[in-house]
């Protein structure tokens, strides 16, 4: 399953030094993110990615062990972003290069 950021360009982002306030015009909501959540959104804006790919990317960036609990946290954040409408699943038909859902 690949995920992508929704309307990332439309977001208004204030950087308070590793903490962010983000205004999402579509929902009219203001969100508060830490650095890792923000990096995840930026990554998903550059390329649609699977939770595993996101984990690898963020684990390298933050010098963390890419274990199962890290992956679970990534999936939780993805789910949260999904309900907020910040990210969405890429549908099969619109996937680049026709990758399969499993990695």
């Amino acid at each position: 399953m690949r995920w992508q950021a929704n309307h990332f360009q439309a977001l208004l982002i204030e950087d308070w030094g590793e903490e962010y306030t983000v205004f999402q015009p579509d929902s009219g909501k203001t969100h508060f993110f830490n650095l890792m959540s923000m990096q995840m959104l930026i990554f998903l804006n550059q390329n649609p990615a699977t939770p595993e790919e996101i984990s690898v990317h963020l684990a390298t960036q933050f010098h963390q062990a890419m274990d199962n609990s890290f992956l679970i946290n990534i999936e939780k954040t993805l789910h949260h972003f999904d309900t907020l409408g910040l990210v969405s699943k890429l549908h099969q038909s619109s996937q680049h290069g026709g990758q399969s859902d499993s990695v």
Partner: protein, 302 residues
């Protein structure tokens, strides 16, 4: 023309007939009532307000009396905004409190050309200081003290901000002291004008304080904010002030505003700019003298 320049009889007739129009900060309010005890209280507490009989009024409010449903021998009062009743009826003794709540409600639900933060605001040396509301902040009490000790009152309730010019606008209204703070203020500021205590309201006993004449007189002079201080009153505590992070201040301010969400991106950009241009603190206090020392120290540092 100021209210205390006309005799009570004329004041009462205005309330009865065409409506009394008074300027409260950037707004004019047109008030009607045939309930004489309210007219008497208003004459005393609104004495410094400018009259605006020939100007457009944004809010048209009315206090009407009616028989109590439960007890036909008792009278109730009801607040009307443009003829509509936004909340139920109350015992007649509470007329003033109901009118003041009603006007606050009208401002809170209708005004969207300005950002409405839920915050007390005072000014000194051209800088506004925000005291945002949160439970137990004691902002009204604090405001009453500060505005009678050299600070200019903007509001004890509304942080009214022009989102384009980033200016705060004064809207000095009566300050409703609640419960124990009534006695506290009577002790600390024996000289101030206070309305009668109104017991058994939804917020307990309430007594209204008239803003200082100077604050009302200068209510067209706006100011930029320089400090945001989240106050908390804790009995017997050692007063303490400490800096908080910008993102936390943003969250606290935005999540407790009247129309932050309604303004969308405009509200977001205005609050972000406000936080950037202010120093943000948390304050715990129990003693007003301590608070004033701290504020003066803050102001001298810059």
């Amino acid at each position: 023309m100021v209210v205390n320049q006309i005799p009570f009889r004329e004041f009462h007739l205005l309330l009865l007939n065409q409506g009394l129009r008074v300027a409260i900060g950037p707004f004019n309010v047109c008030i009607h009532t045939a309930y004489k005890p309210l007219a008497e209280q208003l004459y005393k507490l609104y004495c410094h307000y400018r009259m605006a009989q020939d100007e457009i009024a944004e809010f048209h409010v009315r206090i009407v009396t009616e028989r109590s449903f439960k007890n036909p021998f008792k009278k109730n009062v009801r607040f009307l905004l443009d003829g509509q009743s936004p909340f139920g009826s109350f015992p007649q003794e509470q007329a003033l409190a109901v009118l003041e709540w009603g006007i606050n409600l009208a401002i809170a639900v209708r005004v969207n050309h300005l950002l409405l933060l839920h915050s007390a605001v005072v000014e000194k040396n051209g800088h506004a200081i925000l005291f945002p509301a949160w439970p137990g902040s004691g902002k009204t009490t604090l405001c009453t003290v500060l505005s009678n000790r050299g600070f200019r009152l903007f509001s004890d309730e509304f942080g009214l901000m022009d989102p384009r010019q980033r200016l705060f606008l004064p809207i000095p209204r009566l300050m409703p002291l609640k419960n124990e703070s009534i006695a506290v203020i009577r002790r600390y500021l024996p000289e101030i004008v206070m309305g009668q205590s109104i017991p058994n309201t939804q917020k307990g006993t309430v007594a209204h304080v008239c803003p200082p004449e100077q604050s009302i007189l200068l209510s067209k002079q706006a100011a930029k904010a320089r400090w945001i201080i989240f106050p908390k009153w804790i009995a017997g505590s050692q007063s303490k002030i400490e800096a908080i992070s910008d993102s936390e201040a943003f969250m606290l301010l935005a999540s407790n505003a009247f129309n932050y969400e309604a303004l969308g991106a405009t509200g977001f950009l205005a609050v972000a700019d406000l936080i950037h241009s202010c120093d943000c603190y948390k304050l715990v206090y129990s003693d007003f003298d301590d608070v004033m020392d701290m504020l003066h120290k803050l102001m001298n540092e810059t």
